[in-house]
Symmetry: D2
Subunit: 147 residues, 4 copies
Amino acid sequence: MQFEIKIQLSNMFQHETQVRVRYSETDKMGYIYYGVYPQYFEVGRAEAVRAIGLTYRQLEDDYGILMPVMSMEVRYVRSAHYDDLLTLKTTLNELPTDQIVFHTDIYNENNKLICGGRIRLAFVEDKTKKRCPAPDDLINKLKPWFE
Amino acid sequence: MQFEIKIQLSNMFQHETQVRVRYSETDKMGYIYYGVYPQYFEVGRAEAVRAIGLTYRQLEDDYGILMPVMSMEVRYVRSAHYDDLLTLKTTLNELPTDQIVFHTDIYNENNKLICGGRIRLAFVEDKTKKRCPAPDDLINKLKPWFE
Amino acid sequence: MQFEIKIQLSNMFQHETQVRVRYSETDKMGYIYYGVYPQYFEVGRAEAVRAIGLTYRQLEDDYGILMPVMSMEVRYVRSAHYDDLLTLKTTLNELPTDQIVFHTDIYNENNKLICGGRIRLAFVEDKTKKRCPAPDDLINKLKPWFE
Amino acid sequence: MQFEIKIQLSNMFQHETQVRVRYSETDKMGYIYYGVYPQYFEVGRAEAVRAIGLTYRQLEDDYGILMPVMSMEVRYVRSAHYDDLLTLKTTLNELPTDQIVFHTDIYNENNKLICGGRIRLAFVEDKTKKRCPAPDDLINKLKPWFE
């Protein structure tokens, strides 16, 4: 007699990286300027892609793919300060299709949520500037997390 | 017999200003970096407030009010380029309460929509760092557009 | 008997434009972040070039010329604040050769010097990425100020 | 008869740290925007100060000292690209007095010099906004490198 127990704890890809807040990123209120977070989201997803064995630069240079942002939603929960070491948790809840949606939540050193963003990007062929599906290599490298 | 006819043409406040795209605001894709638009939204609402006879600076310095951003939603429709002269249309659909919601739509020189943002800000008392209602002067100066 | 008196009051090109300080450009010290001034210098020289009947964009798109910065020297004299309306005075003391040197002095609303910068740029052919002389059109349009 | 031989190998403080170039930091030329380097210089000197056992944040919060930039000189040698991992070498050639001068040289992954900057900062008492000497703790922590 055989049992097959398959426990699927999660069906997503998640990655963590850190950034240290720069003086340039503060504003006169004394906190991080609200328009700086999109840069952090960019760092979060660039490092997430690197973690699966690709880079944004490769996608552009080797695959001829551009990834313009289509939409962004940001919720600002707490303020962050100069020199804080922030943790960026970037999640993919679905495999990319003709678009890819990154969720990046940003935590401070006390593990309190600072800010959460949802960024949707398209895939565009650099040569034609027309939309295209996600490159197979990107999908294949992500598949193990979604099976 | 009496008729009362009330034609409400609009019930909102709208303001327009322009920005010229700087080289620093482009990225290697050749377009404006997606994280620059929050700066344009900021310019849009700062000039909108100036147009009713107040300034952000006064709100901070004279009224002791800070206005942190609580949420932002951005839809990217078309790409914009270096040296484009963009028109920022900033709209308030409601009088501020304990928060204020600015809608800023950005158009290029051909009057095509580039990008639209919805930014929600809170009012915070600088001294106590606690939330507070919008200053009466701000509400009163906006009222004529909402009657 | 004839006299020819030629008074050469100046032998340079000068242009003025203005920028309003954005909230994003301040830092937690409450002043403009020192690294923002290069963006203002860029605005100053872009508008100076536009004033003689050319644009940076044209130099890139129509002439195939890139203008990388080779060196920059900045002297910070006074602090500037959020919402200040700054005047950028951009000067060329010499006609461009295989390089061009812009001096931009920045004044506040009381006509006090905030900051002065000297920025030296090269001319590079986009196709070959090799240095080249300034385009004739740029030199010719500047000549009247240097005769 | 006695000889005293003192070999002074170096008389300076040097520190290295790294930054990864963000997409936001590129411009349409495809390289890092020239105005981004001051942010890197800031990272370089912030990490240099951290390495001796202090932080900028402490200098502001605990010592009540602000450090505005007085002058900056930058030499741009090579272009750097998106996703490059840059090494920032920050050097102090002298102990701080009523000012401090940081030299930051930036190298790419092939150990080629990209850019060098010399940044001079003053010490200012936050309360009075008047210039003051460097805090003793900063000088004392640096002394071992200058003896």
